[in-house]
Symmetry: C2
Amino acid sequence: MAVRTIDVRERVMARNDEIAAKVRTRVRAAGVTAFNLVSSPGSGKTLLLERTLAHFAGRRRIALVAGDVQTQNDADRLARHTDRLVHAVVTGGACHLDARQVAAALEQIDLDDTDLLVIENVGNLVCPASWDLGEDAKIVLFSVTEGEDKPLKYPKMFQQAAHVVLTKVDLLPFVPFCKDRAIASALQVNPGLRVHEVSAVTGEGIGEWCRFLESHMRVAVTS
Amino acid sequence: MAVRTIDVRERVMARNDEIAAKVRTRVRAAGVTAFNLVSSPGSGKTLLLERTLAHFAGRRRIALVAGDVQTQNDADRLARHTDRLVHAVVTGGACHLDARQVAAALEQIDLDDTDLLVIENVGNLVCPASWDLGEDAKIVLFSVTEGEDKPLKYPKMFQQAAHVVLTKVDLLPFVPFCKDRAIASALQVNPGLRVHEVSAVTGEGIGEWCRFLESHMRVAVTS
């Protein structure tokens, strides 16, 4: 029975990958970069996005797809910072977003009027690593209140990601967390990771983070 | 295909529940209480258990089964605080422990020489809610560095649990976290939850937590 389970699972994953490839083709054809934000629950994805939206308000158009197991709390929080529609996906118990859900959200998004697409995944450091959503890159958030060895214990997510964002760095003086050791753990499982550091509370690193995002946005048209 | 997936999944879950029932019968017959500790990655399960083991060192016999996706880091940390064998389960990518793994660990545990069985699950606030391990109760940890609305966003885990432990309360002055609102969220999804508060760093609440655990241990034999 175990073999049969794997068989079905592989076909489900293959179907997801097909849809993800179509999403990727479509988003890229529109000249838009798509990021898939992943992390443990409570690592600060939503607050970082709130700060990001505030930074770009009125200047840049970020399309958002926010996934939660239950509630639209994250989407509601994000909607307060943008005049654009935030696409809430309630997975109803499922532990990750899938490409079909992103493809459905894209039906409502005008990519020609979008500078960047950000998908906020369900808070889960395991399962979303296996589900391609058609993004250009996964960005994994890692809070300084978590253990320094998270990348070693959940390696797939850090291997899949192109960027790691160390969040809540304002709490460093108050927690037993060695930043250097944490970054070394992340680079041990994926030497190609680019490391960012932010505090969404104090604003530390937010400017640099937003410059990084802007470097992946459409070139602004100067009128 | 979706229907077939659910069918297979249901059979896998039913098989898990059968094994869990056997584990439960066996552990209860030995007069041992089993707790299943669940939480997001980085909520402080391992550190709380380290403090717990130190508290009971030489006096009480706690059997431990520690699950991780990769590495035996948690089990190694726990082993430093006890002269008893800590059973490490590496799930190899799977997002939760299952009853079969606990049953296998039990083969190595002398329940007659055990006052309490604690299973430290994989850090994941979604999937472990669905997998009965044969425990008497799930205990969900919830760190004050996470969002206050975690119980609303991940309701199944809080509904399945009998206890919630608010961890890292020493960080309350430094984080935008309203403890009352967080507890209200937890009680909203499960009014029967018993709430504990601890800081494994300062020791706050550890005495009370350990008294709670002790109330579920075998009655100590006075010689």
